[in-house]
């Protein structure tokens, strides 16, 4: 066997497994045929002409041609695209070997095989979800605080033990003091009462002090663990590529870092530790009861297994319910995070009703999921109360019978009832533990879900540190695929240091994707991007990006002062540098008119600035880092012509002496460009100066004509 390809669809697009196998001389096809006999087909390679691959939306069609007729047809889902391509490559190699055209094929074969294995390995790793023990994984987060953990453990045991003292003292109090006092059969010294009372008080104080210590220590551990989780999740998020953020809803990510970690903190500091205390108390109580009277102990602890069984039953019900509730909650947050920032669009299109409806649906969803959970859970709590009452009844009954038969004293019965009822009091909260554990497990899973995503722009070991670049960029046979869509279909372009290149073309042509590849926000699927001769995938990303200046269509300002926003890429910048950058970006004058000048707060909650003003601040920001390579992605598209002129003046300053890639719909923005590159459907259509391209009367000339017509209309 030379290669194989698993197909997962049949020609009618139903899910059905099949297998195409390539051997040295033949091509074999097996296909499961439902209940019937699996079909089997075979061709000799010599009879075959070509294997064609065609992308059809979410699926890929494979067509086998021989003697100018269609011999076979298969479909695979787009996830198998790379395997299919590799398979076809092997098929072609094999045919060439057979016809004796290619002697170097063997060596290349090996390469392809390696590639293929890598693909499989990568996919395995991505699809692999660690087994559902998210709570156990929490423990690994607590490791650095093992001393504190140990202290917490000791305090917990001590405080639980201290709670056992009071019922113990009560036993002697009843037998040695109260009953003799009442029956007046013997004389009792009053000071004995004082001794008992003060002993009880002491026990209470001791319990209080130990509980205080325990609670504080445990809360601190919980805070440490969750703060570490929050930090690591956020750090991890920062490492993830832009593609990840494009796929995820902002509100959902926010709630994972915000509220899910909060749930976990609460779980560790309250639910878990309570449960742990309860278990300890149970053990201590059992030991004490059995040491006093085994028969009564059996009667008292009898109902416990029944309750435990009930807990087990309900656990299964609650598991899915709480996960659904958490998801429903974050859906609501998403709707909010979507609608509130987009309120202008909502109002402009008079879609308030629709948004209200969307919110209502999300809210109803929360109600329904919670209602479902509550149904199970509300039955559960009273049920436990009933069982504990029955349990206590048994103690009373067996106890009364034993007292009547003189096998125990009244004091012992009192002690038993105190022990067992204080234990049953906790039974209720103990049962709640399953619920909170499920909730915490769901939260932990959602957090680890983020942590387990592997960055798709991998961190390079032994990456080349490029330092300060001259700014030469070369795209070499670059292809880029997003899912099954091929967005860049083979682009080669060399940009000299200091050159300004304008990318022109219709929306969706792949201009922004190309820029994203140059910034290494995305990884090329094939080919390479080289900067100053270094292959970008070997280069230390952070080090490389220090050479980049980015001005986007929608300038993003962080919540902070204008000075902080300008110095975002270079926090150590002096005030003189900040002011100079703002001057160069033509921002100084309008900044001065703000009430707090450079100290004015901007960003989401800050001063309102116009689009042009924000753009000039972002230009100042790019200027300050003095980048070797400058990317202008539709920098002037969202402003009026007047403002555009001012921004243009600022940009002219910025462009000087830097390699610049500018994307623009307004062709006027590109008048300073040395070359214009017309991109269409992922390919370069034309390259040349403005005049050359007009003369050529191709796509660019058409675009230019269209612009002029719009301008004169």
């Amino acid at each position: 066997m030379v290669a194989r390809l698993m197909t997962d669809l049949d020609a009618g697009l139903h899910f059905r497994h099949g297998l195409i196998v390539l051997t040295n001389t033949r091509l074999l096809n097996f296909e499961a045929a439902g209940t019937g006999q699996p079909s089997f087909l075979a061709w000799r390679l010599g009879d075959l002409q070509e294997f064609k691959l065609e992308e059809m939306g979410a699926t890929i069609a494979l067509q086998l041609m021989g003697n100018d007729t269609l011999l076979g047809q298969w479909r695979v889902t787009s996830g198998s695209l790379r395997q299919a391509e590799a398979f076809i490559a092997r098929f072609r190699e094999q045919r060439r070997i057979l016809s004796g055209e290619d002697t170097g094929a063997v060596a290349r074969d090996n390469e392809i095989e390696e590639d293929e294995e890598e693909v499989f390995a990568a996919e395995d790793a991505e699809g692999y979800i660690p087994p559902g023990k998210p709570l156990l994984r929490l423990i690994s987060f607590a490791r650095p605080w093992y001393r504190l953990l140990f202290l917490g453990l000791v305090l917990t045991m001590a405080s639980t033990g201290a709670q056992m003292i009071a019922p113990w003292l009560t036993m002697s109090l009843v037998d040695d003091v109260l009953i003799p006092l009442q029956s007046q059969t013997e004389r009792v010294h009053v000071h004995k009462v004082y001794v008992f009372i003060s002993e009880l008080a002491l026990a209470a104080v001791l319990t209080w002090a130990l509980n205080w210590g325990k609670t504080f220590v445990v809360a601190r551990i919980a805070e440490h663990v969750t703060s570490r989780m929050r930090r690591e999740t956020f750090e991890h998020l920062q490492r993830l590529s832009l593609t990840y953020f494009n796929r995820k809803r902002t509100g959902d990510l926010i709630s994972r870092i915000g509220s899910d970690t909060e749930h976990l903190s609460l779980f560790i500091s309250v639910n878990f530790i309570d449960f742990f205390c309860d278990v300890l108390q149970f053990i201590f109580t059992a030991v004490i009861l059995f040491s006093i009277n085994p028969l009564l102990a059996v009667a008292a602890l009898g109902p416990v297994p029944i309750v435990a069984w009930l807990v087990q039953r309900v656990r299964e019900h609650l598991r899915g319910g709480f996960a659904a509730a958490s998801r429903a909650g974050s859906q609501l947050t998403s709707v909010l995070a979507d609608t509130i920032p987009g309120v202008r669009v909502v109002k402009a299109f008079a879609q308030e009703k629709r948004e209200i409806e969307r919110f209502r649906v999300a809210d109803k969803h929360i109600f329904d999921t919670n209602d479902r959970v509550n149904k199970t859970w509300s039955f559960f709590t009273p049920m436990i109360k009933l069982l504990t009452d029955l349990g206590l009844l048994i103690v009373w009954a067996v106890g009364a019978w034993s007292v009547a038969h003189d096998s125990i004293t009244v004091g012992v019965l009192t002690g038993f009832v105190l022990y067992i009822s204080s234990f049953y009091e906790r039974m209720d909260s103990m049962s709640r533990f399953t619920a909170s554990m499920q909730r915490a497990a769901a939260s932990a899973h959602r957090v680890f879900d983020v942590l387990d995503v592997k960055p798709d722009v991998p961190m390079q070991r032994n990456a080349v540190k490029v330092g300060r670049l001259r700014g030469e960029i070369e795209f070499r046979d670059v292809k880029f695929r997003y899912g099954s869509r091929e967005i860049i279909r083979g682009i080669s372009l060399k940009i000299a240091p200091g050159e300004m290149v304008g990318f022109v073309g219709p929306s969706g042509a792949g201009k922004t994707t190309l820029v994203n590849l140059a910034c290494r926000f995305f990884e090329v699927s094939e080919g390479a991007v080289l900067v100053d001769g270094f292959n970008l995938s070997d280069v230390d990303v952070m080090d490389y990006r220090r050479n980049l200046g980015l001005v986007l269509q929608e300038p993003y300002l962080f919540y902070g002062t204008i000075a902080e926003n300008i110095s975002y890429g270079k926090p150590e910048a002096t005030r003189a540098e900040i002011v100079a950058a703002a001057r160069a970006a033509r921002a100084h004058d309008f900044i001065l008119r703000l009430p707090d000048a450079y100290d004015s707060m901007v960003g989401e909650r800050g001063q309102q600035l116009s689009g042009g003003e924000r753009q000039r601040i972002s230009i100042a920001r790019a200027l300050l880092v003095d980048p070797a390579i400058l990317i202008l992605d539709e920098a002037t598209s969202s402003v009026d012509t007047e403002t555009e002129r001012e921004i243009q003046a600022a940009l002219d300053h910025l462009v000087k002496g830097r390699t610049t890639i500018a994307i623009a719909h307004r062709l006027g923005t590109l008048r300073k460009a040395n070359r214009l590159v017309v991109i269409e459907e992922g390919l370069i259509k034309e390259i040349g100066s403005h005049e050359q391209l007009l003369e050529h009367s191709g796509t660019y000339a058409r675009l230019h004509q269209a612009m002029l017509e719009v301008a004169h209309a």
Binding site: V579, A580, D596, D599
Partner: protein, 159 residues
């Protein structure tokens, strides 16, 4: 990249009490206005001198480098325009239906002011806090940590 501070400039006062600037080229600008570039974070440096039409004529990085009497004239003119009370003690913060009312002692005496939202309390880094009231006056707390304990606790509810 920084613009060097212009040398040999002088301030004077004309008969009507207006501030007059003689710039490095000997041009006379009447009724100029000084404005701070960093009124909250670096209020003693970076003074922009603007013409009557609110255009910047020049920028002085350090007023202390000026000769007398130019320096005093400039600093006085600044002091007249500049009103950012520094909060020393917070006595009371009262929740209102919309926003809250602060009763404070500042370096300019006791006062009370109304603040619209919690967002009007803005951190400026390194413990600095600026509070913008309804009338757009700015109140500064240069360092939250150095407030007294009671003031800090009052502040805690809002920031």
């Amino acid at each position: 990249m920084s613009t060097p501070q212009p040398q040999n400039i002088e301030f004077a006062k004309d008969d009507q009490g207006r501030l007059v600037l003689m710039d490095q080229d000997g041009v006379r600008h009447v009724n100029v206005r000084p404005a701070k570039l960093f009124p909250l974070t670096e209020k003693d440096h970076w003074i922009s001198i603007q013409s009557e039409g609110a255009r910047e004529i020049l920028c002085i990085e350090d007023p202390q480098s000026l000769q007398e009497p130019s320096r005093s004239l400039l600093l006085n003119a600044l002091a007249r325009r500049d009103f950012v009370p520094i909060i020393q003690v917070i006595h009371r913060i009262v929740r209102l239906a919309d926003g809250h009312e602060w009763h404070v002692t500042t370096d300019r005496g006791n006062t009370s002011f109304e603040v619209e939202t919690d967002e009007s309390i803005q951190p400026l880094g390194r413990g600095r806090l600026v509070i913008v009231d309804r009338r757009n006056t700015r109140y500064l707390i240069p360092n939250v940590a150095s407030l007294d304990r009671v003031s800090k606790r009052k502040l805690e509810h809002y920031y």
